[in-house]
Symmetry: D2
Subunit: 395 residues, 4 copies
């Protein structure tokens, strides 16, 4: 029996596909097809921007990207017999690129259109194209690095219930209301512009477009977690909020650094992912996996042996103000410290920044209790550099 | 030639030792001895509380610990020929416990005296004692786990310059002033009570005691970074701020989870550390390692193959309020999710909490740009459990 | 520009393919196509037996396999500008299965037709079919194991010079002549029966068929090394003996244990391999890589953390005779010890034997100087078993 | 309660120690002390030659070493309640060097006195001294390498029964009798010269000295396995042949390459080892661990990421004769190939040879069925070299 496949034609936009996919979260987006527990199936995916970025040296497509279009997702898939309260167990059996598309992109969003983690240091748009030779990536825009990708879906999630969706919209609106004109915005609220909602039409489309949550953040349903180690061979336990769970997936990355700090993003690709689903009836309560998914990573990620690790603490790098156990600031300083070091190796700041977004760098919480400073670390694998970057002792 | 050794008598307090050590940061604390670049020497260390915690089942010593006494450090060591602007390169050649002291402690500080990362969930003091058999730790207070320690110094640093010290005191006081009566406090300011300042006496003692920065946070000089992977075999690059660098070390941990979330802390031990120092003249500018230390981890940490990973996002767990890319909250939720799961394996919440503080769990930044939610993960190595904790699929 | 591809039609035998391939080593087998240094190309491969084994429960196809037909190889590929004395550098960029063929086979050859490493213990033919779900393999014939494949080409090599070929034939005939009627045979000599020799025809075919070396053993040109870690991401340095090097590849394995002890073999599959070639002019002398290839393994092999290791020494297991530093006997005893143990876990001897041939078990030389006993080890990764196989202490 | 310790005074020979130890295997050598199952105890050990080798640049002590003196072992330890048929479970809790002895030696034995794996290539004695700084070893005799030791006991074993001992002596004599004048010898038979037999005296001493098996080879009781990964944190399952098991240990190595190919040996040291014993009653039959020990390696060995791997096949390197699946010859050729390569990196043959004996190189069985050639590999970790040894592509 042939596998069920969510097919993608790379020459078409998501709403023109045989299966149109979606780019908002809503319980009423119809399933593309249904599967049985134990069934293996394949999802083909467009890149998260719906093909807005080109393989060239000009970052203007990054600068002007339509962010209302993201993320175009494949699905939803209805899993027969799965109900709210269950755990949906999803095995990521394999992931790959299309042989007709052996490249991906990383970019820094402009402050005015998206921004990024180091937006106040790097407010302008930039782009790097990464070429793949089998398991390896290199870039003409970031020289002297080569690494094996930890290919993964940046985004995988199940549908929220209507109650959960309402709560998302409430809490995010409350945040935006604290500073509605901020650039970049504090959050992206529902917006019918550029919606893709599967096969929905007419009044249903309009209603769902108006209510549907944006796919940008990770939430209780999984969503855009951007966890670089959620790679092939992983098993994910999703709490289930609607009948059939309604699983969707997209935003594939050939590779990503912890934090996905340039926002656009890891090495972004279209591609395919092979999945198998199972169920644990009543599993949310049984295992208390209720607020967010949990997962077991797969066994075939590249392992590195030698790292150069940069530390950062929670003191604002412009004002010198002391913040209280602020891990965001601590990690930002660790990233900035790494970038300053990489400049001494011959990289521009933008190149170093895009490298940290693309390569399998690790971001860790060091200490989070040592008042008032959080300590975070950024670990750079030495082996990804074709030159030796380690500082040399005086002879 | 015999190695230089900072000797410790486990039956005495830090101020009674042959080398009295110190528990504040100040450029004027006299060096215990000096070494040449290339020299190997040994530092013996008391536990960070100066021996206040006993090997028993009663947490009242944790509850009433005198936190003005921490951290009692060994040093400083003056490195000949090292000047401000250089990088001091410190090799951690080996670390070990004392054969007369084959146990350590982990504890949750009470909200009124220190607090911890999950203080609003676990406001009461608790204690777990961990026993060592060679490289392994087990605890009568946290059953069914056994793991190899990643033994490391929670705290290692060089002396600040007077200007740097003044800036620390300024910025930390400004933070405290925003909420001076908060419990737990936002930061610990200089306090002459319970000071140990090496061989300083009289007016010099009084001045340094009044100005000396507390050792609690990590700062530009390294300090209390609590990085679990800064273990044996590591090489650290410290920016240098005073002549001779004045290296100090203490707060040894037999093991620690990322974040050291119970605050008290990892598995706290007295012990010894063997160090070798080298120098890179003018290295701060040459390699732009100026704001914080950088390091290469050692090669002999235990590697784990199978993890169960919990995710957390930046939504306040009590109010449901949406926070903006708040990695602290996201990691707190990941920890809480792990604890809820561990309760289904038979642990109490306090046991699970202390396990996350003690065992080599990994805390990672997942996505830090996906507005408005940061995503952090807590990775629990399956191999440390003597039972299989992985959720089971329905048959 | 489209990649060059050695295409395979799974419904046809090797001699019927568009590119007919070959199953003997000879310098005069014509190249299928030529590539430039730096070029990436793809080789599709049939399984080593040319499709003689079926996905069913009956081992009679293993028992009666035509071994004169093996190994059907894809190639040769001529690399422009490469000459004898150079090193041909081959990057294994990626390897995969065909989506129409998601299974492989392992088998024990019968003593009368091939034999195997433990032939005197397991003289009868047996077969296990392994099914793939993405990166994982399981078998209905060997229950309770699941592991990620380390997919690799069992056989990759360059063409020998005529002189080298003559020497191979000389030395192997001399060995066979010491016991020409042995069952199983000591070596397989040239045999025109069942030859496939690319596009060769007529007298050239007859001459080459008569002289061409069998592909069974590894030799100076690489060949059938059956090294399980020569997997995706690896870089191989081949000494070059003829103009253009004439690279061939085949005998893909989804997985294999060290030693490939059942002979048939690892988990045998048809599939594809993506390669890139480079050259080091005069590299054989420059790096003294002259007698055999050398290689760097790739970074994405599954890593295991917990092993159960069996030892074996060089005492004959039937006679009790003491052999002198005989690593073959020592490894055989380590394998037998592992099988005896696995029987206590519920496996039959044949199942255990096929598991050791298929799963990523490690075979190591322990001591090879401690007269008179060699010590070899067989390391079984605990993680591949769905049950816990580790012996339990008395309570 | 104080731990039981087998104490060693480094200034004395084994027969002069408080616990005299032994250097032959015999069931009647009296136990030094007894322990209970579950008990932790410490064994201090002399180096295997009983202190015959000095820290200097002159290999004449290696050349003239008295091999009748080896290996001086610590023990035996009697484990209460353990009987033949049980499994003795030994945890290697930790291992270390003496702070007064931070160096070790590796040597090539002369052909006339011991020989080595490559004796026909390197017949003369050589010596390298390795200095330790914490977990790392370097050598003034083998420059530009630095690596973390995988410290382990080369030799650990239980006493044979009288029947087993008789069988050892029978089978080894039969081997020697095939070529009694061979240099080096095929095996070492019982020899009263230089015997150390614990506290035995008089007629008992004479009898045991005459019958006691040499400690050179690994055998059914464990013994001199020289397995580099049997390191700290390991758990060993020994079959038991006499009441109390009578466990002995010695021949500590700071590090060793697979095969211990120079014979003298790994990096040989005196030191200490902390052990814990448990029992599985009737475990030999229950788990079929009857012919040799099995073990689980510990979790803190250094992991390497990048290897350069050399292959070898079973063709005699002098005569060109084809051997039949001869793994000894295949591994010898892999070693020789590695040495030829290392000469291009600036090492002498002797230096390269001693490096392969000392550093954590891996020796693996590749294919052991591909008639007539066995294929073995020698994997050299790139990270142990302070220079980059990887061959460079033509630009």
């Amino acid at each position: 029996m042939a596998k069920k496949i969510f097919e993608i034609d790379l020459t078409k936009k998501m709403h023109e596909q045989k299966h149109p996919g979606h780019n908002r979260w809503h319980p009423d987006i119809p399933a593309a097809f249904s599967v049985e527990p134990g069934e293996v199936f394949k999802m083909e995916c467009l890149d998260w921007t719906d093909g807005q970025i080109s393989n060239n040296d000009d970052p203007s497509d990054i600068e002007k990207v339509n962010l209302k279009r993201v993320h175009v997702l494949s699905g939803p898939v209805h899993v027969n017999g799965v109900e709210p309260g269950d755990l949906l167990v999803v095995d990521i059996l394999d992931i790959g690129t299309f042989s007709a598309h052996e490249w991906g992109f990383n970019g820094i969003f402009a402050k005015e259109n998206g921004g990024s983690f180091l937006v106040d240091h790097y407010p302008k748009a930039a782009k790097s194209i990464w070429d793949f030779e089998g398991i390896y990536a290199t870039s003409r825009h970031v020289p002297n690095v080569k690494f094996a990708g930890i290919i993964h879906p940046g985004l995988m999630g199940v549908a929220p219930s209507q109650e959960m969706l309402d709560e998302w919209n409430r809490r995010e609106k409350a945040l935006v209301d604290t500073n509605p004109n901020r650039v970049p915005a504090l959050a992206e609220l529902p917006d019918p512009d550029s919606c893709v909602l599967g096969t929905l039409k007419g009044a249903d489309f309009d209603r769902v477009a108006k209510e549907g949550a944006r796919t940008v953040p990770p939430r209780e349903n999984g969503g855009n977690c951007d966890i670089k180690n959620l790679s092939k061979g992983s098993r994910v336990y999703f709490p289930v909020f609607v009948d059939g769970a309604k699983l969707s997936v997209g935003d594939l990355h050939f590779s990503q650094g912890d934090g996905e700090i340039t926002f656009c993003g890891g090495i972004e690709i279209p591609g395919w992912i092979e999945l198998k689903v199972n169920v644990i009836k009543g599993g949310m309560e049984k295992y208390k996996i209720k607020k967010n998914p949990a997962f077991q990573p797969g066994p075939v990620m590249p392992h590195y042996n030698e790292y150069l690790v940069f530390e950062g603490i929670s003191v604002n790098e412009f004002s010198g103000d002391q913040l209280y156990l602020d891990a965001n600031t601590a990690y930002r300083n660790a990233c900035l410290n790494a970038i300053e070091f990489l400049k001494t190796c011959g990289y521009t700041g933008e190149q170093a920044y895009m490298l940290l977004g693309s390569a399998p760098v690790q971001g860790n919480i060091g200490g989070i209790v040592d008042i008032p400073n959080a300590c975070c670390t950024l670990s750079l694998p030495k082996e990804i550099f074709t030159n030796n970057i380690i500082p040399k002792l005086d002879e």
